[in-house]
């Protein structure tokens, strides 16, 4: 591979010769890809003290991004990097959840906060098998390319044959082209190519890194990353890891016999996003036809949680369609939000994944378009001559295509996002839109749930939020926390519960573990993960230190926003009003978190060591977390 000019950074960041031992779990190498020059640079991972602070995943990637992203760069500027990072737990094979890859970049959805796109499956494991813990992409290729990694070798190959293709065809074609069935592929669809602000990267059919990483790849003419290899991460204490992995496995929730035959996550609290968030009622026959589907679990690499599933549709407009889904069910709410029901929902979900558009981005944009059309604010001419009839499958499928390819006035605005569409429509549309800082919340009706709303609002918009406080103290944290079960309609205690959850969820991503495989609600849910990390790396971290590491990541993420103009008040001012309206109907009718604002948000920042108005960390917070180097961005006490 041709060598790229060396990066000019602190010598501990990418040491030319390691001075500290590499902990277990790491391959020890990053690959920097300069797409403009078509060159590679193999970099050593940072020295051990840096790894011990940031572990891997989103935190290590962000620490590097802080050093590599020019302060005035825009998301799609060639010098705006995408950093993709696994963690030490990724690919050991001996625990659940060791599948995580997190991409970090300046968010194209908000333009001023952090973009974080996480994915599981097999692809991250293959990246390590190819010899790399992570990838750093800078520059822009002059024509579409894909990166091919095979056992330490790297090539940039012409991707013109797959440019324009959907994620499913791209994966199949590239696997055939490289001639290895064990090659794993992360790729973008037309949405990423056309810079849809919340375009996704798809990998291993069932997995999607959302929140704009697809657009970032598209902006660099990077269609895909194909990885394979024979390598495995070295382990410090394999037998101890097996034991910890078994304990971790015992804490997993697993899908029941009838999994994926109901309307998904929304069923668990009984409110669904429908009719652009104007009704929440779940009807008994909303899932009609689901009972006729053939469903097979398609678990991630060595994980017993078995979230992903393949389905062959048994009825609806497109029976026989094969669809591939992961954990969660935001895509079901997405099309219920447009008044589709039954198997047509799953058909459209497969289409949106093939095109590579994040579902909530489309759900809230298209939902607004339908409502505005119905209420006369959006014209047929603006809609490309279409009659936007709620629930009409051909119309919605056409809108998906228009969004992915930025076709026409409406397609272009759907690609930009719901906030941009509302601004273009003007008038009352500004009241009907759901967005968070220009990004979108995960597509569920969180409005009745205080902890989840707090999470969605404080997460950097356009970034998959982390955490979501629990009503009860997680059993493993009882040694240090104690509170009475929190009330669903009182704000008391939710801020702190959320902060804790954000810390352990962040820590999960940092170790390279999927937080769907994390179950803090049962004994040993957290301790088994800490023990697994220690067995892998050779460290001796405590659960307290795991939470501190997560806290470090939280603060570093908000410092990134601070550097680019974000303030805490944006969380409740730069937000689509409908997200904060009283719930219109159903069992939670009339409830709104708005009555607790901004107090709840202020409490969240204060309790996590940040100023409640600016969101900047206090100096002593930085000191406690070992982040003194960011002191210039702190708030004077």
């Amino acid at each position: 591979m041709a060598a790229a000019p060396a990066l000019q950074t602190h010598p501990d960041l990418f040491p030319s010769v390691r001075r500290t031992p590499l902990p277990g779990g790491y391959m020890g190498k990053l690959l920097r890809v300069d797409l403009t020059a078509g060159r590679f640079e193999e970099l050593n991972l940072p020295e051990e003290p840096i790894l011990r602070r940031f572990w891997g995943g989103q935190a290590l990637a962000l620490y590097l991004l802080h050093h590599l992203l020019p302060m005035d760069a825009k998301p799609f500027d060639p010098e705006s990097p995408i950093i993709m990072m696994t963690g030490p737990m990724t690919g050991t094979g001996l625990t659940p959840g060791g599948t995580k890859m997190t991409s970090i970049y300046l968010s194209p959805a908000t333009g001023y906060t952090l973009g974080r796109a996480a994915t599981s499956g097999f692809w991250a494991v293959s990246l390590k098998a190819a010899g790399f813990d992570g990838l750093i992409f800078t520059g822009k290729a002059s024509s579409p390319v894909y990166l091919y990694l095979d056992d330490g070798r790297a090539e940039l190959r012409d991707a013109s044959a797959v440019w324009g293709k959907g994620t499913r065809d791209t994966e199949d074609l590239l696997r055939a082209e490289v001639g290895h069935q064990d090659a794993k592929i992360g790729c973008i669809g037309p949405a990423g190519e056309n810079l849809v602000h919340a375009a996704m990267m798809a990998n291993d059919y069932n997995h999607f890194a959302a929140h704009g990483v697809g657009a970032m790849m598209g902006s660099k003419n990077l269609k895909a990353i194909v990885a394979r290899g024979p390598r495995r991460p070295p382990l410090r204490d394999k037998m101890a890891l097996i034991e910890a992995g078994k304990r971790w496995d015992a804490t997993l929730r697993r899908p029941g016999k009838d999994a994926n035959r109901d309307v998904g996550h929304a069923a668990s609290w009984g409110a669904m996003t429908k009719h652009n968030w104007q009704t929440t009622i779940i009807n008994a026959d909303d899932n009609h036809g689901f009972e006729k589907n053939r469903i097979v679990r398609r678990p991630c690499f060595q994980c017993g949680r078995m979230c992903p599933w393949d389905v062959e549709l048994g009825d609806g407009s497109h029976p026989g369609t094969l669809a591939h889904f992961d954990a969660g069910s935001e895509w079901i709410d997405t099309f219920f939000n447009l008044d589709v029901t039954g198997n047509d929902v799953l058909y459209l979900a497969e289409r949106i994944n093939d095109l590579g558009i994040e579902c909530s981005h489309f759900a809230d944009g298209a939902g607004l378009a339908f409502e505005a059309f119905e209420k006369g604010l959006l014209t047929a001419e603006q809609a490309g001559g279409m009659d936007l009839k709620w629930g009409d499958l051909p119309t919605i499928e056409r809108l998906l295509e228009m969004c992915a390819r930025r076709e026409g006035w409406l397609g272009n605005l759907l690609a930009d996002g719901p906030k941009e569409l509302a601004e273009a429509l003007g008038g009352e549309a500004m009241q009907w839109v759901v967005h968070t800082k220009g990004g979108t919340p995960a597509q569920h009706d969180w409005r009745p749930l205080i902890g989840n709303m707090l999470r969605e609002m404080t997460a950097s918009g356009g970034m998959k939020p982390q955490g979501g406080g629990s009503k009860d103290v997680p059993p493993d944290l009882k040694y240090r926390e104690s509170w009475e079960p929190l009330s669903a309609d009182k704000a008391d205690g939710w801020a702190w519960s959320h902060i804790l959850s954000e810390q352990y969820r962040q820590a999960s991503g940092m170790m390279g573990a999927c937080w769907f495989a994390m179950n803090p609600g049962v004994p040993d849910g957290l301790n088994s993960m800490v023990d697994a990390l220690n067995a892998t790396t050779g460290w001796d971290l405590s659960l307290d230190e795991m939470l501190t590491a997560g806290h470090r990541s939280m603060i570093m993420q908000s410092v990134f926003g601070t550097q680019r103009g974000w303030r805490a008040e944006d969380d409740y001012t730069n937000i689509g009003p409908r997200f904060l309206e009283p719930i219109p109907d159903g069992k939670y009718q009339g409830f709104t978190i708005a009555k607790f604002l901004p107090g709840l948000i202020h409490e969240y920042y204060r309790l996590s060591g940040r100023d409640e108005y600016t969101g900047r960390p206090f100096k002593d917070t930085l000191q406690k977390l070992g982040l003194e180097e960011f002191s210039e961005w702190s708030e004077a006490e």
Binding site: G91, T92, G93, L94, V125, S126, A129, H180, Q181, D182, Y205, N206, R228, G229, P230, R231, R232, K246, R254, R294, V296, R297, R298, P299, F301, Q302, C303, G304, M306, D310, E312, L322, H324
Partner: protein
């Protein structure tokens, strides 16, 4: 084959080394093709326990001792099959080995001793399931060991403990016989591996005919007919396959146990017991 017979098997002469790991109780693996979802966690677990290279997991090779058939990507397929060493009660691979490098353990495993193997490939060709391969790196034959190191510590094989779909089980021969019959009956399937080649220690509950699961149809005769290529036999006899030391061992074996030679050179299958 029946459990009582197995328990007394050490009383008869066998054309290969036998040995005892722990309590001498024979054990078996069960594979339920109806429960299998084709996720290949068993395949990766095998690689993890044995620290075999990642990747290349779709066909048997020195770094992949267990495959799931057909060699399609994970996910929706109408049928899955397990392809790996069957740990035969009468292992013909062991019978043809000129240096007695393959041992049948009382507890079930058939294991190639890497320090004894001379890489002649007789076992590779003799195995009726074609699940032995020769490493280009070490020049030795490799295959599933049934996790003999774990069984000796009374632990189940690593593939079995990894299955998230409850498609694999491990236990004494009696337990697994009962379980595989029960599983097969529950979906109207067939048991495979109980009679084939004189009986094995991996029992499959199949949903369809063996061929559909990627398995050969075999007679119940012990030490099934094999076809070691003539050139391999000539090479084995006339050359120093594994140097002088290996040759000395092979010749010594042939001289001291001439009754074993028939399994290599003029073998006919033996009727089931």
């Amino acid at each position: 084959m029946n459990p009582e017979h197995l328990l007394t098997v050490n009383g008869e002469r066998r054309p290969y080394p036998t040995a005892r790991l722990s309590d001498g109780k024979p054990r078996s693996i069960m594979f339920d093709a109806n429960a299998c979802i084709g996720c290949r966690q068993c395949v990766e677990a095998c690689k993890d326990w044995n620290e075999l290279p990642r990747g290349n997991q779709y066909k048997i090779n020195p770094s992949t001792w267990l495959t799931m058939e057909p060699p399609l990507l994970e996910g929706i397929a109408s049928i899955w099959g397990r392809n790996s060493c069957m740990h035969c009660e009468y292992p013909v691979c062991a019978a043809v080995c000129p240096v007695e490098a393959i041992t049948k353990f009382d507890e079930g495993p058939v294991v190639i001793d890497q320090s004894l193997c001379i890489g002649c490939e007789y076992c590779v060709y003799a195995c009726p399931w074609h699940v032995i391969s020769k490493s280009d790196v070490t020049g030795k034959a490799t295959k599933c060991t049934m996790c003999v190191d774990r069984i000796s510590e009374n632990k189940e094989p690593f593939c079995v403990q990894a299955c998230p779909a409850n498609a694999l089980a491990f236990g004494t021969v009696e337990e697994i016989f009962a379980k595989v019959e029960e599983r097969a009956a529950s979906f109207g399937g067939k048991v495979y591996g109980k009679a084939e080649a004189g009986g094995t220690h991996v029992l499959h509950a199949l949903t369809q005919e063996p061929e559909a699961h990627g398995l050969p149809r075999l007679e119940p005769d012990r030490y099934p007919k094999h076809d070691i290529p003539l050139d391999k036999k000539i090479k084995g006899v006339l050359t120093m396959t594994a140097g002088i030391e290996g040759k000395v061992r092979a010749v010594k074996n042939a001289v001291t146990k001439p009754w074993r030679l028939k399994y290599r050179y003029w073998h006919t299958p033996e009727p089931p017991r």
